[in-house]
Amino acid sequence: MNLRPEPLAYELSAPGRCGAALPEPDVPETALPEGLLRDDLPLPEIDELTAVRHFTRLSQKNYSIDTEFYPLGSCTMKYNPKANEAAASLPGWRTTHPLAGAEFSQGALELMYRLQAMLVEIGGFKAASLQPAAGAHGELAGVLMIRKWHRDRGDLKRVKMLIPDSAHGTNPATCSMVGFETVTIPSDADGGVDLAALAAALDDTVAGIMITNPSTLGLFERNIEKIAKLVHDAGGLVYGDGANLNAITGIFRPGDAGIDVMHFNLHKTFSTPHGGGGPGSGMVAAGERLADYLPGPIAVKKDGRFDMAMPKAGIGRLKAFHGNFGVLVRAYTYIRMLGAPGLRRLAETAVLNANYLKAKVEKVYPLKYGRGCMHEFVAMGNFVEGVHTLDIAKRLIDYGFHPPTIYFPLIVPEALMIEPTETETRETLDAFADALLKIAEEARTEPELLHSAPHVTPVGRLDEVAAARCPILCYRG
């Protein structure tokens, strides 16, 4: 990690410098439209090498999968194979245009068509749309589809969506975007959906349920079929949040259990890099009931040619053009390298790795729900008075590990959500478990070490409260 302070690009600027050489015009010049021009363009002026060093040094201030173990729960921070990058950066993709027309885009359309089919098969669905750009965007697609399905039946009163209390924040936020009211369903003592509470909430104002399986507690929802049946019998539909698909590829297909529509996070399960925030892909797949309602366009095949078409009763477009195409190429490459046996091995290993880590630390880090986990588990960091999960997370940084997800899900106090993924070796898992156990000891013997952590980073803990009170959101010279 690069510890030296790095100036802002603006602070490296000197008048007259430029990092890129551009040619002189090779055409006769045309007078510029005087009254419409800007006087000043206050951007930095830096040479190419200064730019290269600046951004390279910035990169060295990150923890990343390529440099550290990154067990960030719910985020599936698995290794992103370099073949994905090689495949996605081929000139035939990078230099082609979304409006070139079907005749001139057969390769891109064929790849999308094949990817749709593979994802439909993996999830147990009928059709898929690659439009959504991230998980939350897929949720928006799915909830709009459910809404339209009811309305097309003349059923206008279904305005509530049921959401388990362990759900990710994007689930309720999505409902608000489509004007739905959210009803929170509590979890039972076992970490599953409380079936009595679910039954009590179901009536003819309920549009459906959004369910994450495995849940954000890292637990498989054992009653998934029962839940789907209860909701269907009450006239509702079932949305699946597929963020945790990494636990079940090749082992269980959500569509087989009655999920009507689900988003897949291709940037989690299918190893496309997260890029420090995105881009992702939250493509959606749907079963019998909702297949015609997908957002479009989707790739289709007619007389041996590939094209794009809008689904019959679809909700329309969710973004310009054809989804985050470059992400799709990566996911396609990855699935083709694994095949069906590889996908099963992937999920088995992800679950094995999580259970192994859990077994190594659970005597010290208590669990709220103790049963066998899937690809991740949620421990608690409040076992020593005065030491918090935040302190443990920051101390892990000193040991060279990215912290787990913390304080989520909300129903576990002082949550530490740990997802190792299948791409880590047993040795790495051992080293991480050792660090967690060592930190637990330090919490008792030298708590100050935890409170003052991290010690190996370019900055210490930053004052986020002050930053939000008087926000500085850009360089002010």
């Binding site: 990343s64 973004k319 989804g323």
Partner: protein, 441 residues
């Protein structure tokens, strides 16, 4: 398997620690009759085999690196300095998550802050967010933001000449809400002068879909006098030369930022840019980085104002957005820093001169006419024969002449939207003119 390292012997040792007899026994919670479906997928390929297959697919697409390329319409063929992808593809940037732990994410966070600063300079606003999915969703969210800002005002006013796919996206986003869309055909100034009290915002496209650059001076005052907000959706390359939306009084700005250092990539991943006048920052959706300091007074950066976001506010959040387009934003950040003040202006000037040369050459062709409106890099051409037939004929010969408007409006058969950037040489422009002439015979 190269990226699933634990071997069968590792598995046995790990199962012993867990106290389970087999890997299968870890899946006992899954209904038995649904366990282990037979997946009908193509057989696994080695890296060498899959790359060969994908190269063959990639080669089947029309490429701007081998053709004379004049097609834009929302995805643009601009120059990308080599250092942009070289640095953005470093694993430390590429394989990091959203910067939730600021001490180990200062690289990403400072890059977001620098992007916000440079994009803010370009647009003339103080507050930019860290990205939306693309220009269309950024504009849709901007319209939602304006509607939230003025409860009771139930219309949003869009240019008829907005990208048709953006209009579709806005319709999708607004459909469930009590917000109506109205379109205006003339100039933003005329539309602003006739806003009624139901309008929450007026959107101006800068330039519009047909390439026209409208004079926006005075528009903001008229929009504000009607009690509405002005949203300006701009081409960021155009802003290298033209007045910024902020300077013109825009309240909210959006853009498709692909042109800033990102490839066309068959339409994605792209970069949704959004910013606002600072008084609206707490009403703006999306992640935002801010400056902070640690206990020793060292400068650092954090994600801030998160009380607007889904992970804190759940159903009360301003948007559901979580993952955004971080890496695409990073490329835009490196691009803006590299080109800087002088380079971006030069790119914009090259687009201007080359586009105007091309328009003049095409205007000389018999049967062709070119718009008289002010344009920047894209302009409308009336063609003597159907534009789609010209497109098909020329594209097969690797001269991609522009977008036939009949793609979106079936009755606009004789109109072609031509885009010229710094990437087009005079030779290519002359070839375009000669090819258009020949194809229209």
């Amino acid at each position: 398997m190269p990226f699933i390292p634990n071997t069968d012997s590792d598995r046995s040792r790990m199962l012993a620690v867990i106290g389970k007899p087999s890997v299968e026994s870890l899946f006992g919670d899954i209904p038995e009759k649904l366990r282990y479906p037979e997946l009908d997928l193509p057989p696994a390929l080695s890296e060498m085999e899959i790359l060969r297959e994908i190269e063959a697919l990639a080669a089947k697409n029309l490429s701007s690196s081998t053709c004379a390329w004049f097609l834009g319409a929302g995805a643009y063929n601009h120059f990308i300095p080599s250092l942009v992808p070289a640095i953005a593809s470093r694993g430390e940037f590429l394989s990091a998550y959203t910067p939730y732990q600021p001490e180990v994410s200062q690289g990403t966070l400072q890059a977001i802050f620098e992007y916000q600063s440079m994009a803010g300079s370009l647009f003339g606003v103080e507050a930019m967010n860290a990205s939306h999915y693309d220009g269309a969703t950024a504009l849709a969210e901007a319209v939602l933001m304006a509607a939230r800002n003025a409860p009771g005002r139930e219309t949003v006013v869009l240019p008829a000449a907005l990208h048709p796919e953006y209009k579709e996206v806005i319709r999708t986003y607004l459909e469930p809400l009590d917000v109506k869309i109205r379109e205006y055909a003339g100039t933003p100034a005329a539309a602003a002068a006739s806003l009624d009290p139901s309008a929450a915002c007026l959107v101006a496209a800068y330039p519009d879909f047909e390439g026209r650059v409208h004079d926006l001076s005075g528009v903001a005052d008229a929009v504000h006098a009607a009690g509405a907000l002005l949203v300006v959706h701009a081409d960021p390359i155009l802003l290298g030369l033209f007045k910024s939306p902020g300077e013109l009084g825009a309240d909210i700005v959006t853009a498709e930022g692909q042109a800033l250092g990102n490839a066309m990539n068959y339409g994605g991943p792209f970069l949704g840019m959004m910013g606002a006048a600072s008084k609206y920052v707490r009403k703006m959706p999306g992640r935002i980085a801010g400056q902070a300091s640690d206990a020793e007074g060292r400068r650092g950066f954090v994600l801030t104002l998160s009380a607007r976001e889904q992970h804190i506010r759940r159903e009360k959040a301003l948007s559901n957005i979580c993952s955004n387009q971080g890496l695409v934003m990073l490329q835009a950040c490196i691009y803006l820093a590299t080109l800087g003040k002088n380079g971006l202006r030069k790119v914009a000037e090259l687009c201007w001169h080359k586009a105007h040369y091309a328009a003049a050459e095409i205007a000389k062709l018999p049967g062709f006419s070119v718009t008289k409106d002010i344009f920047f890099k894209e302009f409308l051409v009336k063609t003597p024969v159907p534009a789609q037939s010209i497109y098909d004929k020329l594209s097969r010969r690797c001269v991609v002449p522009g977008l036939p408007l009949s793609r979106y409006w079936p009755d606009r058969t004789h109109e072609l939207l031509v885009c010229v950037t710094e990437m087009n040489t005079k030779e290519q422009i002359d070839l375009l003119a000669a090819s258009l002439k020949e194809a229209s015979k």
